[in-house]
Symmetry: C2
Subunit: 733 residues, 2 copies
Amino acid sequence: TNSEADTMAQESDHPSLILTKQGIKDIRANLGKVPIFDESLEATKSEVDAEIELGIQVPIPKDYSGGYTHERHKRNHLIMQKAGVLYQILNDEKYARYIKDMLFAYAELYPTLPPHPQTRSYARGKIFWQCLNDSNWLVYTSQAYDCIYNYLTEEERNTLETELFRPFADYISIGNPKFFNRVHNHSTWGNVAVGMIALVMEDVSLLQRALYGIKDIRLDPNEKDNDGGYINKDGKIGFFANLDEPFSPDGYFTEGPYYQRYASYPFLIFAQALQNKKPELQVFQYKDSVLIKSVNALINLSDVDGEFFLLNDAQKGMSYDSRYLVSAVDIAYKFGGNKPELLSIAEKQGNVTLDDAGLAVALGIKNGKTKPFIKKSIELADGANGDEGAVGILRSGDLELVFKYTAHGLSHGHFDKLSYSLFDEGDEVVQDYGLARFVNIEQKGGGNYLKENKTWAKQTIAHNALVQNETSHFEGKYDLGSQHHSERYFFDSENESVQVASAKEVNAYPGTKWQRTMVLIEDPDYENPYVLDVMRVEAEKANQYDLPFYYLGQMMQTNFEYSKLEVPEILGKSNGYQHLYKEASAVSKGGNLKLNWLLNNKFYSYTFVTAKNDEILLARIGANDPEYNLRTDPTLILRKKNTKNTLFVSTIESHGTYSPVSEFAVNAYSNIKNIEVLLDSEDYTAVQIDTNNEKSDIFIISNQNSDKDAAHKLNIENKEYTWKGPYLLVEKN
Amino acid sequence: TNSEADTMAQESDHPSLILTKQGIKDIRANLGKVPIFDESLEATKSEVDAEIELGIQVPIPKDYSGGYTHERHKRNHLIMQKAGVLYQILNDEKYARYIKDMLFAYAELYPTLPPHPQTRSYARGKIFWQCLNDSNWLVYTSQAYDCIYNYLTEEERNTLETELFRPFADYISIGNPKFFNRVHNHSTWGNVAVGMIALVMEDVSLLQRALYGIKDIRLDPNEKDNDGGYINKDGKIGFFANLDEPFSPDGYFTEGPYYQRYASYPFLIFAQALQNKKPELQVFQYKDSVLIKSVNALINLSDVDGEFFLLNDAQKGMSYDSRYLVSAVDIAYKFGGNKPELLSIAEKQGNVTLDDAGLAVALGIKNGKTKPFIKKSIELADGANGDEGAVGILRSGDLELVFKYTAHGLSHGHFDKLSYSLFDEGDEVVQDYGLARFVNIEQKGGGNYLKENKTWAKQTIAHNALVQNETSHFEGKYDLGSQHHSERYFFDSENESVQVASAKEVNAYPGTKWQRTMVLIEDPDYENPYVLDVMRVEAEKANQYDLPFYYLGQMMQTNFEYSKLEVPEILGKSNGYQHLYKEASAVSKGGNLKLNWLLNNKFYSYTFVTAKNDEILLARIGANDPEYNLRTDPTLILRKKNTKNTLFVSTIESHGTYSPVSEFAVNAYSNIKNIEVLLDSEDYTAVQIDTNNEKSDIFIISNQNSDKDAAHKLNIENKEYTWKGPYLLVEKN
Ligand SMILES: [Ca+2]
Ligand SMILES: [Ca+2]
Ligand SMILES: [Ca+2]
Ligand SMILES: [Mg+2]
Ligand SMILES: [Mg+2]
Ligand SMILES: [Mg+2]
Ligand SMILES: [Mg+2]
């Protein structure tokens, strides 16, 4: 039991998670003077006032995401958090009363609840169908509780803590150790939920549980969750383990930006609270300031619109406008040395958090400190130690090429070694399918993962990646895939006119290894930069290779004859092939083939080198899709049968525009006349690219030595080429 | 031969087509003072200066549209016209010299030219593959010639007129009477081309030819052009005939807004020139000011973005930003009584013509005269006398419903009686396919009409229209279709909360007649307005009826079970059915069926009443499309077999939104619980619509009497309804 002095001491400590006593003073002093803060406050006030009007609804849990009870409870914790900051900022008791009334409604309901009636999750919550969402609830509600802590009597606090918060924290941790004791973005939410309420309640043992996991439980290392991910393979647990594991030293989150966006919130909100309450932990310095770096990495993993690249499971359209990123950017600004380029992101977001961090950003903007955040080409290493491959992002002009040579990406990973996607002015041109899910849209499988995510979206054939013998990488087995990663070979973006990322994969198909080199070339002989893709395959035996090309848009023309089937055929039986309809096919006579297409009123061309008798398949997604869960997007597949070693070489150009208003087509055709492989040996691959205006460039890559300083000498067609470093691009004369 | 006095008189008359001597004075006096004019001038100057830098290119004609020679010659006349006004406005001789040099290059080339080598047109040009484009050239070049007339010596003018202009005008008229002596938008260009050069040269007999056609030629009334349209069925010829025929008294152009946009330029530019040179003709007063009305009609035929509705052959994305419409709006403003709402359209266009009309608009904007152009619901009658059906446009909230009950629309017409399309916030939600053509994109059939335009886009099954026995309206025969039109029954948009358009078709299928009533209802029980569609069919014998519904977007859910085929089947053999793949089907147990879908992050529902054993087909466009000329959009078809009289009733709601950033789905489900047909007799049809919140509305239509003042009394389920006028919407209590 608390002595009166203890109570006083505790009261003086509130609020202290995201708002501090000094912060509130500063915020109040600046009210009406800082536009972006005032606007955010006004918007929040309108939203919360409208909810208060509607009255308190705490229904008995029943639905999956998308359904009423799920969405209502979610809204409750979001609104409580907002009401909390409004109470502190505006000092208007109605907000405190609203939170108090709602918390007491929960305190009455919660003890009566069995696990959630919907059974799809391996870790069911009580308020929601999975512990993840219960954890969300507690992360937000802790902040609200912190804000009204001093408004409540000690008896009221005792009731809430005994009836609601402590049992809630216990249920999502001790009650669900497979959920809590795990390295996974969901578990981070669990750890942070427990940690946040521990900080409010100043409960040392709960805080230890949050930071370092439940010590006395050992889980079966081979057990998996309902998404097929390992529950806990190596025994790492707790918040710090979750910070160690999925983040690379570059701040890349191994599940990819879509999940990082979601995970970043608990990491950063808890780090902020820890910094305020336990500065001695130096959480922002942890692992060479990885949390601050992670925000920088995440912004770099977005296209020019701020939309995240599609890596692993990821829904299209998610962007740094997400409320999670508003928090992340504001916290990174305040606790990461006030980097002025973060202010330009905050300006694009158009709002700030209503707390100390948000005020710092708002004042930075008001005081004219903003600098543009210029996204350059960047390589972000994967793996806790930064040695498990990487994502290479090449940027030039309006093009952004995303080349993936990472580790598997935990349970949200796809079997897509050395795949890529291409964006032009922020629009996908050569796509990654993303996930097969309509998040929170109840009519589509309750808004959860659809079965096509596993049978289609994760499979190799769903990617711009090499498929051998119609099987996915690592046989599509998570246990195998998660043991390996691709190897970066080199990444060089120093020369703006030729930027190169090259990587190798040796594990995905035992007995076969391949190297892919993606080059973004800016050349005065072309209107726009273009992509060169050189993929070299070495195998111990003859295989069939498929290389899909997921262009988006309407085909305009090919330079080869194809025969379209009367009705489509299903392309295969498994590994994702069962979801593709073959619509047309062609057999190459050798030489360059071209696909010319139109997307968003821009003309594109894909030019690819073929050998005689290579097959070309024109296919479309949508087979074995009984509930219309898939998008019916097209693809072109280059198929080489009964082949050991081979080389895939292609270019992608964005070369022209069309206006439906003026009806003018400008530069509708490819500017590339011919691509020729001049040489392909174990040591070197050399490719010549001729333009329509009679210019030629030669690109040479050293296949075995990526040393920046190594000198190379090579004779091709009686001409000697000498250079330093892993590649050469030179104009032929 | 001209006396010196004549020459002087003539010189004093130039320029006089679109620029006048007074106009130039005013323009020069206002330079630097009227922002939109100055910006337009600056943009034009940059464009023309860049072309002058490139030098003069007058290649030997060779290509179809999209190809080099076509695009180059097209650019030449556009740039000459602009250089002409720049010469007059800026008084800089380099512009006059540029035009002069180019004209002399043409004067050298033209006499050597045979008809264009590409043979697809029934009326080949010399510079271009069709006389239409040669006419375009002359319409623009006449303006340039007018601008530099006084800059040239008499001898130079004689050379140009003898070697180039007169033979050019003769070739497109006397040399191609089937092209020139015709009522068709192409012929309008021909007439105007001859008329414009006649006005510059002050050639009375050429002007007569332009205004009234070539008198001494009689064409075969049954001959058709290569698009299947009649060349000259009723012997009407010349500019005034072209003004009489295709425009209704409301200013609706029978081919639809896409072609009106194109045709409006020659009509209005020539009218302007006639007004300046021959005011006694009172061309703007002709047919109760139909030219001015036509501009108003055309703006009303655009969605909230200014993009034209898809009626007949029409490419998507064409809008009033078209340069043709900039001219049309500016001319309508200057010569149509300075209507201030046209200024708001000019502001959206963002530029004005560099002539007297453009200055008037620019000054109007500068002087703050702009008023918003508010597009309301409107009915636009079709037919020279306004008695050949109409287009009914119902607008409410963000919805725009376009209901077509017109005449056939000449050679660009589709077999789509009583079809409709629906727009939400300017995006198509229930689409009209548009045309099967990629205008000026050479890689698609030279940028010309594709064969799928006839086999697919024109056919009834390509529309949201009733199809009987898998045949198109009028057997898909232009000769039959062009003899008839649908009948408007009534149009009433006076009550904003219930707007109704109703029409009947009795000719498209002999022995069958049907009436369709489209209602846009704004009801406080619904978040947004919704569409009610009541279609009543009476037939002499049993038929199969198909009603397609071309929703755009991703299916979310249906409330009925369907079985998807392993592989699609081709739906039929002809009449467009050969282009549809059947993907899935269902058999109704009766009652309401629902389709729920997502488009642009908005949720929509289609709820339709069925009878037991009605079939539902889920299909997709793309069969028998060997060159990927078609878009693979989905459709839902309600099929009633072996049925005589029947009633199709359905509703369309836009009820919810999704945010991929917040991942919140709001109002994802239809608000309509049930639709029930209460009564359906020869005289009345009554439908009850129940919402999820237990409210009911009853809609009753009088099927035989559309009199606004007729009193009706009807007993349904022992309740008496009395009302005045053709319909009643009443809340049930
Ligand atoms: Ca993927
Ligand atoms: Ca070069
Ligand atoms: Ca149509
Ligand atoms: Mg984008
Ligand atoms: Mg994007
Ligand atoms: Mg639009
Ligand atoms: Mg539109």
